[in-house]
Each structure stands twice: as C-alpha cells, then as structure tokens.
Subunit: 198 residues, 2 copies
C-alpha cells in the first residue's frame, strides 16, 4: 500500500510539473508551485526528485519510452514496410509533445548553454540514430534495402522525423502531418529499397 | 554621409543585440543593455527599431536573405543537380545559426505562447515550403523528376533541412554534417528523380 501510494505521489508530482511548466515555463515554475499544484509537501517532492531538472528528465524519458514501445510494436515482415508503418505513430507523438514543446524548447535552450543539460538532450537523439542504423542494416541483410551507408540512411530518417515533429507541433494546421509523414517515408523508401514497394 | 552613418548605427545596434542575446538570452537582454553594448543612445535605438522584437525580426530576415541568395546562386542545369548542390550551403547555414540558435529557440518558445510571434516564425518556414514546391514542379516539368506530389516532396526537403540544421547546431561533432546533408539529398533524389543521377 505504501509502495502504491508512493507511486501515486510521484505521478501526481509529474502531472503537476507538466501543468506548471506549460503555464509559466520551465525556468519560472518553482518547486513550491509544483508542490502546491500537486498538493504534496516539499519533503515528499524531494523524496522523489532531487532537483527540478530530475523532473524534466523523468518526463522526457517517459515520453521516449512510449515512443520506443510504439516503434517495437510497429514491426512488420520487412524493414521498408516497418519504416512506412511506423509513420502511423506520428500523430501520437505530436499529441504527446504538444503540451510539452515549450518545455522541450526551454530545455534545449539551456542545453545550448550548459554541458550537463546538453548531454541529457543529446542522449536520446543518439539512441534513435543507433536504433535506425540497426534497422537499416537489418534491411540490407534481409535484402529488402539496397547496399547503402546505413548511418547516412538512418541520419535521413532521424532528421526527417525531428524536422517533422518540430514543424507539426509549431504549425499543426500547416499540413496533414500524418499523410505527409507517410508520403515522406514512402519517397525515402523509393530511394533506399530494392525493387518495388508493396 | 548622414545616410551612411545611420546605416552604420543600425548595423552596430544589430551586432550588439546578437551579442547581448547570446550572453543573457533574448528575454533577459534589455534595450538599455543593447544600447550600452552598441554605444548608442536610446533615442538612436528607437529611431531604428520600435521594439526589441523588431530587432529579432531584422536579424532573422537578414539570416534568411543570405540563405536565399545562396540558394539562387546554387542553380545548376537540372533540378536534381541543383538540390544536391544546395547542400553545400549547409556548413554556412550552421556557422551563421550557431551564435543565434539560443535566440531562435527562445523566440520559438515565445511563438508557442504568442500568436503574433508565431506568425513571424511561421512565415519563413512557409516561404521555403512554397519555394521547394516550385523547384520540384520545375523538375517535373523539365522531366528530371518523376511525376510526384510536389508539395509532399517539398515537405520532405524542408523537414530534412530543419531537422538537420537543428541537430547540427546542437551536436556539431555528432556527424560530418556537410557529408551527411549531401548523402541525404542524394538518397532523396534516388527516390524522386527520373533515371540515373549524374
């Protein structure tokens, strides 16, 4: 029961932090604000999170974990099919990022000035770079993708995704992003795959 | 002579603003800070710029104008050649963006909260979207590109560029960005062009 209550408190603090960061920004939101929004004591807060930065990292990791699960669930018979199918995740990523974009931008801003923050921001990006390099290598090995520089191909996929998520969050009505993501990946696959796409 | 001196003052204010924004951030940098950095009176400042926001817009437009010139100068015989050649601009874009990235991120952050700022940020992005749609249509008309949805293809190019500039500025040593940009565009062109690339 105590374990369960402790997890509930942690979740309540995280939800309160998202709301405070969205309203007043990451910098301006104080630990006091978050505690009063969550209805918890400062003692409880510091029991779960040593710093406000630890909250940000927990939120970012939670978001990335959801994306990872979605990517693993998107596996299809071949790598080109898997990559095209993965674009169906994009609307969910947009929805999850929308509330948090100001917070991410603020953190990014800090990353450009603070080495420690920079490392926390760059880690997931390098993780995806490695993940897609692996997928492309798998596609080459199974014969569905042409012999190609897997790292360069992964870079295209990651850049495309980063660019699209940022634009989609900033300009949600500027395009049909789900359709655009799908068509974009299809164009890429036309350049990368062996023979015809299914 | 007065005209020339006025232009010099304007340039001095802009240069001082870049430095102040880089050091203390866009929000924290005051008009007083910028004036004392530039060695000009507040009267001179307001003669050139009604608000601090006007300075930001002038800096952004200056940066974009340089990119536009570079893009026009990159024209080659065919559209696929032009697009691949344009990636040579990337290192220059990185260099010009480096000092200004924190400022752009901060402005982007404001854009996510303020309708007026949002419009200023979204305008150049839509401009590039339209520009590349035009290039792709031209490529289809000249027969160098396959029949394709020009808007979708332009979207891929813009997303790729946005994603790559952001990553390149944040993680300059994470990849050889000039090579990566070149290879990425080549992969895209393999998917978009008619027949073999030169």
């Amino acid at each position: 029961m105590t374990q369960k209550r402790s997890e509930e408190t942690r979740t309540r603090i995280l939800e309160a932090a998202v709301r405070r960061f969205a309203v007043s920004g990451y910098d301006a939101a104080s630990v006091d604000d978050i505690c009063s929004q969550a209805g918890v004591s400062k003692g409880a807060f510091y029991h779960h999170f040593p710093t406000k930065q630890a909250i940000f990292l927990a939120l970012m990791q939670g978001w990335l974990a959801v994306i990872d699960l979605g990517m693993e669930a998107a596996r299809k018979d071949t790598i080109p099919e898997t990559l095209v199918y993965m674009t169906n995740l994009i609307p969910g990523v947009f929805a999850a990022a929308e509330d948090r974009l100001p917070m991410f931008l603020e953190f990014w801003l800090q990353a450009s000035r603070d080495e420690k923050v920079w490392k926390a921001v760059i880690a997931p990006y390098r993780h995806y770079q490695a993940y897609f390099t692996g997928l492309v290598e798998e596609g080459i090995a199974e014969g569905s993708l042409k012999e190609t520089d897997a790292r360069a191909a992964a870079q295209v996929i990651v850049s495309l995704a980063v660019g699209m998520v940022l634009q989609g969050v900033l300009d949600p009505h500027g395009a049909d992003w789900e359709k655009t993501a799908h068509e974009s990946m299809q164009i890429l696959m036309n350049g990368l795959s062996n023979g015809h796409q299914r």
